[in-house]
Amino acid sequence: MSTAMLPPPPTLPGGSVATAAGGPERRVAETGVWIAIGTISMSFAALTSALVVRQSSGADWQHLHLPALLYVNTLVLLFSSVTLELSRRRLGSFGLHATLILGILFLVGQGLAWRQLAAQNLHLATGPSSAFFYVFTVLHALHVLGGLGGLGLVERRLAAGGLSRTTFKAAALYWHFMAVLWLYLLTLLTIRG
């Protein structure tokens, strides 16, 4: 779910959005991202319950030692959230560029972690713990990729001067959620993976 599809909302001073209702100010892009966060959380909750059930259904679960690189990637992703927040508050492009680069770096790092596991002969079908590891991390990476698409659009609009604060806020919200989701997944995979 990226924000790439959102049309530019008309802006008012202070960065709020006008609505036909004229009532409380609404931010439709933000609403959309909140809904997306709800549904993505539900998907990962379903997969978490699947992990718990699968762990107890067979005697073949072997704990997976996570590659240390994942912790470096975690720091990269968290740092990208910080740079994005700085950029959003000042409407500056430097932090946004940094976020995009850090985001790409995170994905490259995840790719390297997958290669490290593959080198240890731990593939998707090797065992249930490796299967869940790949499912969780690949799905998360795909969502991060969508976020990068959204941020790319924000960058283009910022450069063109047509960016509203609310669109930026919505994109940032999604990006921060990616970091929170990753922290959750890392904890889950460390404890139960």
Partner: protein
């Protein structure tokens, strides 16, 4: 005045942008309904073939031998092909008809009109969700034409049958993979659609349109979207895991030591029950995704033709929300036969019985609304009344199935087939018909033929009772479902009843030609519809029929009344929502 963030519609240029890749919610709504029409005809033809075979298992089905040379050589259906037809019938009907038409179809067309918006919150996402749905449908249908034909594990795709691949039977190779891919894609479309419905309802309401003033159908679509957002978010990862078990060698759902077709399956440790839990956590709310829009449509239509306000409008909304909440607590009642602990079974049984309370209250509100009313018996009103009848008929059998002790006997029989066809299938179809007769003038600017509509109603109403009522008796007599023929066993005495049902099903299906003829003829030659032919109150009736591309001709309505103001004493017996105070 700016109008939310929905793009302002200048009439789009070019045939493709206007009619095919349109971002106009009205075009998209019609596209969903057209897709559902194609799907329902496909699903109904499949059911005819099944019914014919059940009545006369040794008589070749005319023409089928050429269409399915392996599954029905010489027109005689194999047991496996029967299951394949059943799987495709169920999948097409549940996903591409009962979810697509009343929710995505009518919802897309009328939700923005109801809230007074120019379009959905995210028009391009809206267009994407329709085209993704179409791709999902085509992927599913392609299973008829590749490999060994369609899958045979039912619309519920129980593992391990659905997970092990072609060893499990014809259609379990490519066909089953296509099924899982199709449903996975369908989930994406529904999630995008639900997101749009919720954001539009929350953010794009026009001035004065408080939540309390939302028309009942829009309330129902809104609540259905919330259900869908959670339900499809669970089915999608479940489909991904199923696909991985099938193509990547994982073992999420396949246990160790499984031998199928004399071959030890190269999997270990998986849990078939895990699939059932994930599927039914989606599957039971899906029942409400199919039926709640019908609740909304009926609640909207009945007051219009009763010329009375709906009884207890707030109670209705509270009950709809209660049903949505409870729908997530009852999924285990589909699994009483899975060897479930009796304590767990009781825990699922209790909320299943509790959910009948809000559903019953809603039925009482409808009936209470009719009390003392001078009904206008239009085709739309008849189908709305028919909805109440078939929903109650199907709901009553639910009491027996909600209890594990009786369900264990009845679950594998035609009693369940009768139950879910009445309560979900036929009821939702009646909701779709009611909505079509009610909104056709607004959608196409022409009136439908009422006489044909009434014939359509009465013949369909009698037909569906003849088809599904006897199935309760079959079930009580122990007639198992999913069998393709009963020629040489203890069920042989029931064959005449099966033949009666088959004749009734063919008759009911043929009656739908009246509806199709009415649709096409009215579209081309029906009398021109006024803006508000039914003297209704909600905002769609304040604009022209059909509405202009931006819905309200650049003048967003200002809402001053609720949707339920009928029966006043003035010169008119109704007050429209956008009428000045």
């Amino acid at each position: 005045m700016t109008h939310g963030v929905a793009t302002s519609h200048a009439p789009p240029q070019g045939f493709l942008r206007r009619h095919v890749f349109s971002v106009d919610h009205k075009v998209i709504g019609r596209q969903y309904l057209d897709l559902a029409l194609v799907a329902v005809v496909t699903g109904m033809v499949l059911s005819w073939i099944m019914r014919f075979h059940l009545g006369w298992p040794e008589t070749p089905v005319p023409g089928l031998g050429k269409l399915a040379p392996t599954g029905a050589a010489g027109g005689i259906i194999t047991p496996e092909y029967y299951l394949a037809l059943m799987t495709m019938h169920g999948t097409i009907m549940v996903f591409f008809v009962l979810t697509t038409a009343p929710f995505a179809g009518f919802g897309n067309f009328f939700l923005p009109l109801h809230v007074g918006a120019e379009d959905m919150a995210f028009p391009r996402i809206n267009m994407t969700s329709f085209w993704v749905t179409l791709v999902a449908f085509l992927v599913l249908i392609s299973a008829f034409f590749v490999g060994d034909g369609p899958p045979l594990s039912g619309w519920t795709a129980y593992a391990p049958l659905s997970a092990v691949g072609k060893d499990a039977g014809p259609g379990q190779g490519v066909g089953q993979t296509l099924w899982a891919v199709s449903i996975g894609i369908f989930c994406v479309a529904q999630l995008l659609g639900s997101l749009n419905f919720i954001a539009t309802t929350l953010d794009l309401r026009t001035r004065g349109m408080s939540l309390a003033r939302l028309p009942f159908a829009t309330w129902a679509w809104f609540i259905t979207s919330v259900i869908g957002l959670i339900a499809f978010a669970v089915l999608m990862p479940a489909c991904i895991l199923l696909i991985l078990d099938r193509v990547a060698g994982t073992s999420f759902f396949i246990p160790a030591g499984l031998v199928i077709s004399d071959r030890l399956q190269p999997h270990a440790g998986g849990s078939p029950l895990l699939w059932q839990h994930l599927f039914w956590f989606f599957g039971h709310p899906e029942v409400y995704i199919a039926i709640l829009p019908g609740f909304g449509i009926v609640s909207q239509i009945l007051p219009v033709f009763a010329r009375k306000p709906l009884l207890g409008p707030r109670v209705l909304i509270v009950c709809l929300i209660a049903i949505a909440f409870l729908s997530y607590t009852v999924w285990g009642h589909h699994m009483f036969l899975s060897g479930m602990n009796p304590v767990s079974a009781t825990l699922f049984s209790v909320p299943t019985l509790v959910i009948t309370i809000p559903a019953t209250i809603i039925c009482l509100l409808w009936i209470g609304t009719l009390y003392g009313a001078r009904l206008r018996f239009t085709a739309a009103a008849l189908f709305a009344l028919g909805f109440v009848s078939v929903f109650v008929s199907g709901g009553i059998s639910g009491f027996f199935l909600a209890q594990p002790s009786t369900d264990i006997y009845l679950h594998g029989t035609y009693f369940v087939v009768a139950h879910f066809h009445f309560v979900m299938g036929v009821a939702a179809m009646f909701g779709i018909f009611a909505g079509t007769y009610f909104w056709f003038p607004k959608m196409f600017g022409r009136m439908m033929n009422e006489t044909l509509g009434k014939w359509h109603f009465w013949l369909t109403f009698i037909g569906v009772y003849c088809v599904f009522m006897p199935m309760h008796y079959l079930g009580l007599a122990g007639n198992v479902r999913r069998y393709s023929a009963f020629t040489d066993d203890y069920l042989q005495p029931l064959i005449p009843l099966h033949r009666f049902i088959t004749i009734a099903a063919l008759f009911t299906g043929a009656v739908q030609l009246i509806f199709l003829y009415n649709l096409i003829r009215s579209r081309l030659r029906g009398p021109v519809a006024p803006a508000n032919p039914w003297e209704a109150t909600s905002l769609e009736w304040s604009t022209s029929s059909p509405p202009p591309p931006d819905n309200f001709g650049g003048r967003p309505p200002v809402v001053t009344h609720g949707p339920n103001e009928f029966g006043g004493t003035g010169p008119r017996d109704y007050v429209m929502q956008a009428e000045p105070q």
